[in-house]
């Protein structure tokens, strides 16, 4: 009977899949991501194998040409009035860093890269682009630029992402976050360079009094701006929070909808199609109930606090495996297997053998007992693990079992004996059957 029904299942499932585009919800949400073609690499700065900030490497990856050419192009542009430097700096600021690690660069490539940079610097000096400016202007400018570059480099990527996303995290923490002492020193050095540059610029150009006045004015203006924009900042932070919360909620909703669509709705559709076959309806409903129950209440289920990602629980515990086995038998024989497990432990070779024997016992009960329900009880004790498989079915006379039947002899008795366990079978015609399997636990 199940064998006939199976192919139908798949047909109906396929029907459902075909109808899916008409469904506005999760179909739209999940599909485009996976299907978008990815022929051209997005422009991302390289993380590994970089000289300064990985901009040239990223551009090279994007265009699909050797890095050396890109570096050369930047150098040539730099000589032309510093356009290359500016372009490099802008790309550095605006192009996100790639998340993939990338391979480290070879010594040869590194030497080539430095060579390009030195050549470029030499050419710039020769052309005198920067240094044709008066010294009082050029020196502080260079100092400021170097300082800013140092700060920016320190704050690169992970910190800046935090600045952008969490307006709440304080800037000092973000600046220094995760970098340790050397990061602190470098940031302070960079900031000092910027300040020194600005001061030198101002001192060089104007008299001391004017500087003081200007600094006061600038400071006052900044404070004023900060005070004036307080409400705006507050709103920004609040909006971010609200936005984040609603995003989490809608993701949650989409996940639930997707799960219900994949499980409950499919099963209900199947049940409608199979309504005439009571046995099949029962099988479907039971399988669905088990699945949904596990999703809601199971140890890794939706309702449970999810364990942290890093402590990935081993999926092979006795209770999980027994539940799987019972579910399998329920599905293939259209009976109900009620399992109760007391205690739990990791599976080892012996317990796997015991569960295999238990499976055989459950299957025997399902096949021969002629009942709709089988009880399975497992108890984990300090010294041993006991499993009881019980039905209230027809039972049999143990002495009258033909010698050519191997199920009980080999799969249950043999398996248990080979691993040091014991089996007791209590049965009588008409009185049901109980198979007791006890396995000593391996010394911990």
């Amino acid at each position: 009977m199940p064998a006939i029904a199976r192919p139908c299942d798949h047909d109906v499932v396929r029907d459902q899949r075909n109808q899916q585009p008409a469904d506005p919800g999760q179909g739209a949400a999940t599909k485009p991501m996976a299907q978008r073609p990815r022929s051209v690499a997005q422009l991302r700065r390289r993380r590994g194998g970089r000289l300064v900030a990985g901009v040239a490497g990223g551009v090279a990856d994007h265009l699909g040409c050797p890095v050396l050419w890109v570096r050369g192009a930047f150098a040539v542009l730099a000589v032309c009035g510093g356009a290359g430097v500016l372009a490099y700096a802008l790309l550095w600021v605006f192009v996100p860093q790639s998340t993939a690690a990338g391979e480290p660069m070879s010594t040869k490539e590194r030497q080539q890269g430095f060579g390009v940079i030195l050549l470029c610097l030499g050419a710039m000096v020769a052309v005198g682009g920067v240094f044709s400016m008066p010294a009082w202007l050029a020196t502080p400018l260079v100092v400021v630029l170097v300082g800013a570059a140092v700060v920016w480099r320190e704050a690169d990527e992970s910190q800046r992402r935090r600045w952008r996303q969490g307006a709440r995290t304080n800037v000092v923490g973000a600046l220094l976050g995760g970098g340790g002492r050397s990061a602190v020193i470098r940031v302070l050095a960079g900031a000092a360079l910027v300040v020194v540059g600005i001061v030198v610029l101002l001192v060089g150009s104007t008299s001391m009094d004017e500087v003081r006045f200007a600094l006061l004015a600038v400071g006052a203006t900044l404070v004023g701006v900060a005070v004036l924009t307080v409400p705006w900042w507050v709103r920004l932070v609040r909006d971010l929070d609200i936005e984040r919360a609603s995003r989490i909620r809608s993701q949650e909703r989409a996940e639930i909808a997707a799960h219900l669509h994949d499980s409950v709705l499919q099963t209900l559709a199947l049940i409608q199609k199979q309504a005439s076959s009571e046995r099949e309806v029962r099988r479907l409903a039971r399988g669905q109930e088990r699945e949904l129950r596990n999703w809601l209440y199971g140890p890794d289920g939706y309702g449970a606090q999810r364990p942290a990602v890093e402590d990935s629980r081993p999926a092979t515990t006795l209770s999980a495996e027994l539940a799987r086995i019972c579910g399998e038998v329920e599905d293939s024989f259209a009976i109900e297997v009620q399992q109760v497990v007391v205690g739990d432990c990791e599976l080892d070779e012996r317990l796997s053998a015991q569960l295999a024997a238990a499976r055989e016992a459950i299957v025997n009960a399902a096949k021969h007992a002629g009942v709709a329900e089988v009880s399975v009880y497992a108890e984990v004790e300090a010294a041993q693990v006991s499993v009881y498989v019980r039905d209230r079915g027809s039972g049999f006379d143990p002495d009258s079992v033909p010698a050519d039947r191997h199920g009980l002899a080999d799969s249950i008795h043999g398996r248990m004996r080979r691993h040091g366990g014991t089996v007791k079978v209590r049965t009588s015609p008409g009185g049901g059957t109980e198979v007791q399997m006890e396995m000593p636990r391996a010394a911990a």
């Binding site: 209440y297 449970a304 109760v340 009880s375 009880y377």
Partner: protein, 224 residues
Amino acid sequence: MTAGDATAPHPVRVFLVDDHALFRTGVRAELAAAEQVEVVGEAGSVAEAVAGIAHYQPEVVLLDVHMPDGGGAEVLRQVRPRQPEVVFLALSVSDAAEDVIAVIRGGARGYVTKTISGRELADAIVRVHGGDAVFSPRLAGFVLDAFSEGPGSAPVGDPELDLLTPREREVLRLLARGYAYKEIASELYISVKTVETHVSSVLRKTQLSNRYELSRWATDRRLV
């Protein structure tokens, strides 16, 4: 009126509490066939239940574990001080041990699952009304687990209450293995009455035990 007396002078008055109307209708239909019980009213929320139980004065309340605004435990908390004579039987679809243990500790006299047949349910109602506890195999498993003395289990408060006697343990284990009370009695060569006494004392221990928040058992277990 004596325990489990099938020829009781009047049927047991039952009140239904469940937030699903469809399920209440189903239970009513199932129980309509049984002569020993009579459904006198039903409620779909905690507030309705509290008011309804006060009004109808039922003898047994069939209580859902999972409901919005507090669930079965909240109904127990509000009704028990005022009407200590009302007996509660938890009827749940929940598999989460902490829910079930919470209701049992709140004072319910038994716990059965929603897939129970109408006849068995009527039988369970009569039994709790007679003063016994009714455990489904699943609850027996939960309780065994809560009282188990593995390494790292909860500290013992009252040693008298915090341990099950070997006999109680045996009875519970057979319950968990799917045996009916009658079968347990013949298995252990004791009377059905004795089995019921053991089960009742297990229930009492579950409710009174200081075994450090039995209800947190499931949480602890998940952390293992």
